[in-house]
Symmetry: C2
Subunit: 449 residues, 2 copies
């Protein structure tokens, strides 16, 4: 048996294991210090009460023969899909129920969607990037091109002349930069995709954090997007489902691709294939649907009561983001994100490199964040903080920031910074900087969506 | 963008939709008849009380900040993996905790495992077959060879000289035939795999139905299997988890494959790759673990109380199987399975073809089963009944069987059987007969694992 040797080309990441190692080392040597973690992208608030009630009720359903649920539809129960259709409708977007696929999370669908694409497609991903976009395509042997997300374009890269891509990954609000595309910018991508027969894979996992009504929460707010885009959504950050596991993916029926083989497929007598049918085929063959119990919990998120409760949680995290942003404004550290996003992407002060700043923060004020270099070459010199900690910790961390960085910081840079295997030179190819979650078995992973 | 055109080679199945259509037609025309469904492979008993309690407790954990669980390890929580290690240990099999991967069901893992294999492997599957083995490999463009499962080999085909396969699918107890491999027979496969550098994908979803202590419940009961086999297990039939979704997959660390490229992968400095590490890589990249709540429910299955409760449920279904088997013995219909399996695979009496017998049963005694031809060419002339109905229905269906088939049946065969798109001639290639679940959206799918 021969393995899929593309797997050998996936780079191993030491980002989160390296962070954990450094933090543990420091904690051991300094047992009296209170370390505040603002690095990981996991939520901290419990599930909303209305979701808890729905989960209990669904568990009870499973306890009696009359209300027991066995195999459900692979694409999800209509009771949940209808709610999602209505959610889009509020945003004046019409989605057909059969365009909605319930999943166990955006990470699964973002990864599995690549099943549908030929190996010979050029994939365009931003740098810095959520590593799953890159790794899943390397596993399939696809060629990856990078678009440059930088301060100069507000970390929202646009189509560039001469770049020919078939599959384009966009994430807005962005992980890790917190940048949000405007409607005009997304229109440029939709136009590009339609003109070049490309497909946009739009990761909208953080859409619920957009408060500015002018900013698009769905790519389908853009005319023509249904003919070129798949949208991935998640309840992980929206409703605290990181450990409960439920998301949804929209595959519009208008999204059609011409095939080179002329075949009779799924009752279509033409050389045009609907991606909706391909994805349905993939899911019915390789997936058996999300637990009935969990889908009932997800349904509750979309009730008026649920919507009010998750808004409260999102507002709580956004308040944390505001506290961080205001502090950075106050001490004069430049940053992106933080307003319509749970992520704050700051420029390391004093021209420090990402890992230098990591060490400096840990040792000076015992605050842990994520070095931007871990997300790609363009992340070098940047640092990610998240708004998902609790409020008291966030306030305390920012008090420490103020003390450290007022007046404008002239941090003491160690003369000989320690050799660091993760901190790569900024001029290296982006591939060399890509990171993945720690693959070691662990009870406390820092997996993120 | 070019799609993966291998998808165009996956045959569409009309098996379950055709069954549904025929049953609905009949029911409409005969509203007074009580139809008994013994076709689908879904359980009917509710979740055991100990599982319900654990699920409620886990939901409560998610309601409070102190006990809330966010992202968990992709490969599953140790509290559940430890229980599975202990379950194997009872069967004198030593599995390391890092060899256990918790999944949302065997169907997902059986499908997704194909990610790890090169396209250029020859895949050997039995005919008749669980369609997922075939379709997932067609989606990847692999060549499929069939091994002949027939009455003459008790539906347990063995390695044949001249056949060169790289990936071998075995399912024991078998779906759809109910046949169970003996240790000697499995040893022949393990020896073959070791000799030919092949891998065995062992589907043990029905292992809990094996009562005969001489029959192997795990392929790892066979010496050498850890060097050549991956085992897929499910709580779907074992504990009624078809709608709750949890399974587990064992990827032994001794399972190593030589690679043609010599690369540094996952800290291995040799040209030998552990499949365990590849699968971990796949799961950490494309999966985010099973819901904490569901894993707590699964954990309860493995407690002494849970084991006692699921045994009761399995015994209930096995009692149904016994009622069916005894009836068939009484009326002189030959069958396979039914003793260490929830499936009864019967020879259609009167030399009827599978779909003829389907119509005959439906019209004569209003009992619904699954035409064997739907599972492959060798299934023609066979018919599958399942033991998952409730006891009263099973008894009533068998009473009707007795009336219809005593004395030995001489069924009235219609002179001109209706044209039937699903009933294919038995001499067609197996591919033409392969079936999948209905891909249409449906609230009541008849998906099976």
């Amino acid at each position: 048996m021969r393995i899929n040797e593309n797997y050998l080309n996936v780079k191993e990441s030491y980002l989160f294991s390296e962070i954990a190692r450094k933090v543990n080392d420091y904690a051991e040597k300094n047992p009296d210090k209170k370390i505040i973690r603002m690095g990981i992208g996991d939520v901290t608030l419990p599930l909303p009460p209305v979701v808890i009630d729905a989960l209990h009720k669904a568990v009870d359903d499973m306890a009696a023969k009359e209300t027991f649920h066995g195999y459900g539809p692979e694409q999800g129960y209509d009771f949940l899909r209808e709610k999602i259709v209505a959610y889009y409708k509020e945003n004046t977007i019409r989605i057909d129920i059969n365009e909605v696929f319930i999943s166990d999370g955006a990470k699964s669908d973002v990864g599995n969607i690549t099943d549908l694409f030929d190996k010979d497609n050029v994939v365009l991903v931003p740098d810095p990037v959520y590593p799953v976009y890159v790794d899943t395509n390397i596993m399939n042997g696809r060629k990856i091109e990078y678009m440059q997300a930088k301060a100069s374009n507000g970390f929202c890269p646009l189509p560039e002349p001469g770049v020919k891509a078939d599959i384009i990954y966009l994430c807005s609000p962005n992980n890790p930069t917190g940048a949000v595309y405007t409607s005009e910018q997304l229109k440029a991508w939709v136009d590009y995709a339609l003109k070049n027969d490309a497909i946009i894979l739009f990761d909208a996992a953080y859409e619920a954090f957009i408060g500015d009504e002018k900013l698009p929460r769905s790519i389908y707010e853009i005319d023509g997007a249904k003919r070129c885009a798949i949208e991935f959504c998640s309840l992980s950050k929206t409703a605290g489902f990181t450990g409960t596991r439920c998301g949804y993916t929209i595959v519009p029926k208008d999204l059609k691709v011409e095939v080179t083989k002329l075949k009779k497929l799924l009752k279509v007598d033409s050389n045009v294939v609907e991606l909706n049918k391909l994805w349905l085929r993939r899911q019915t063959t390789k997936f058996n649907g999300v637990s009935y119990i969990i889908q009932r919990g997800a349904e509750a998120v979309f009730t008026p009561e649920g919507r009010a409760q998750i808004k409260e949680n999102i507002d709580y995290y956004k308040q944390n983001a505001k506290i961080i942003a205001e502090t950075l404004d106050e001490v004069g550290i430049k940053y992106f994100g933080g307003e319509n996003s749970p992520y704050i992407w700051l420029e390391c002060p004093g021209s420090m490199r990402s890992w230098e700043f990591f060490d400096y923060l840990l040792e000076s004020i015992n605050v842990v964040g994520t070095p931007g270099a871990g997300f790609g070459a363009n992340g070098e010199g940047y640092f990610r903080l998240t708004a998902f900690s609790d409020k008291d910790s966030t306030i305390e961390a920012m008090e420490r920031f103020k003390k450290l960085f007022t007046p404008v910081p002239e941090p003491e840079i160690p003369e000989e910074p320690e050799a660091d295997e993760t901190a790569e030179p900024a001029d290296e190819a982006p591939e060399a900087e890509l990171v993945i979650e720690e693959p070691e078995a662990s009870e406390t992973p820092e997996a993120e969506e």
